[in-house]
Amino acid sequence: MAFNIYDFTTLTHDIHVGLAESFSPVLATTIEWVIVGVVYLLFVALFGLFLVYAERKVCAAFQQRLGPTRVGPWGLLQTIADFIKLLMKELIMPRKADRFLYNLAPFIVIIASFLAIAVLPFAPGLQSLDFDIGVFYLTAVSSVGVIGILLAGWSSNNKYSLIGAMRSGAQILSYELSVSLSLLTMVVFAGTMQFSAIVEGQRDAWFIFSGHIPAVIAFVVFLIAGTAETNRGPFDLAEAESELVAGFHTEYSGIKFAMFFLAEYINLFIVSAVAATVFLGGWMPLHFGNFESFNHVMDFIPPVMWFFMKVLGVIFVIMWFKWTFPRLRVDQILTLEWKYLLPINLVNILLMALVVLTKFHF
């Protein structure tokens, strides 16, 4: 089995061939499903725990504290300890709650996140679904997640939950528009919706450089709208602690609360990964036109490393938003989307179309 850190195509191909040779086609496919599922589950759980740790450290740095330091070296095992504690908590069911919907809601949220994560290319050959409608598929499945939040808020039989769910629903529905439109701007530029082809198109220069002004505008709009879509601060009024206890997941405890919590961090990862893939070249190394030796040095860093470096960079920026901006009011959030971001976005698409038509790009 040839393992190559620069290109996973051979590895995945070898695994597929190996399984197909030793098992019947049906069994081989089933085993592949299980393998892919387990790999994604492990990745999401571990990365989610790491993101919680990172958030606490980043927050601490902004507030001139140290953050977790006691459990493990640099407090690295703190979130694992927290997670074990969460697993052992009692699952509380509010009286007169709608039992079925109450239990269903966390799963809808987390399934939508898992469906979205499937199209992201981590490295060459390390992508489980490569549709030619990749970007469209991503916006389609991520629009289902909000249903889980609405159901959670309604079925808890709690006024705080209901208000949190309504706010969150209005916010996610509005900002979805900006996310899709800014992605559409880049689709106009790339000429394709397939994620692998989008990454391939950035071999010479990342889209944020080659698309210059409209691409930068789209990137900024995407970051703002993406932050709003993940319900993170300064757009976290759906779970504003000072007003609504914990918003739509007030009544959830133990592992069900952990699922909402995890889904929030997966969504943060998805938004950052999409930003990194569509604007910052995905797993493509940093290349500058004719600097042959520089490009060669950059090629030594494996694509997986590039991908995660970019994703973590974007995640850091989004965390930076959260810990430095005050929370917005609900009318300010809707004004920002409908009166500013949406018109900017529409003009930006026209600008991008003009740039593409006049070939005024690098």
Partner: protein
């Protein structure tokens, strides 16, 4: 074989949840069962390799219409509300009407001789879809597309006019 398993699985899900949608007495549960029906239909499209239609199904129905339905239920009704059972006479007549409709549809479908597709996978290219959407040739969809957008615009303006409060004239 796996394809068949998936087909029967999605088929069973569509049938079960369709029945549950109309029989449940809690309105939000009905909306959620409807969501399951729509998602299973998207799953059928995916298993047919018709990704575009599946994604449209997810965005428009699951992500759009069901979310709007749930939103309006959240605004208007309470958790403890239950739909009243329809009177016996009404149920009998609706059952008869449904049966008649089902027989008519079944008769039409069963009379049609379906030809199994033996050729290659009709993998639709997204570029072709996009091109025919904006082309104004014989097979283009530019005119219907524009007509529908005008209709939607009119509907939107109508909704705003209906929702807008009358402002009292200063006397």
């Amino acid at each position: 074989m796996l394809n068949e398993v998936m087909f029967y699985l999605f088929g069973a899900m569509i049938l079960t949840f369709s029945v549950l949608t109309v029989t449940t007495r809690r309105i939000l549960r009905a909306a959620v069962y409807l969501l399951f029906v729509l998602i299973s239909t998207a799953g059928l499209y995916f298993s047919l390799n018709y990704n575009f239609l599946a994604a449209v199904q997810l965005t428009v129905y699951a992500g759009g219409i069901v979310v709007l339905i749930i939103f309006s239920i959240l605004l208007t009704s309470h958790l403890s509300e239950r739909a009243v059972m329809a009177p016996l006479k009404q149920s009998i007549f609706s059952a008869l009407a449904t049966l008649a409709g089902a027989t008519l549809t079944l008769m039409t479908i069963l009379r049609f001789s379906f030809v199994p597709n033996t050729g290659v996978d009709p993998q639709l290219n997204i570029t072709d879809i996009g091109n025919s959407m904006v082309s104004y040739n014989r097979d283009g969809y530019a005119l219907p597309f524009e007509v529908i957008s005008v209709l939607l615009l009119a509907a939107m303006i109508g909704a705003i006019v209906v929702a807008k409060k009358e402002r009292k004239l200063k006397e």
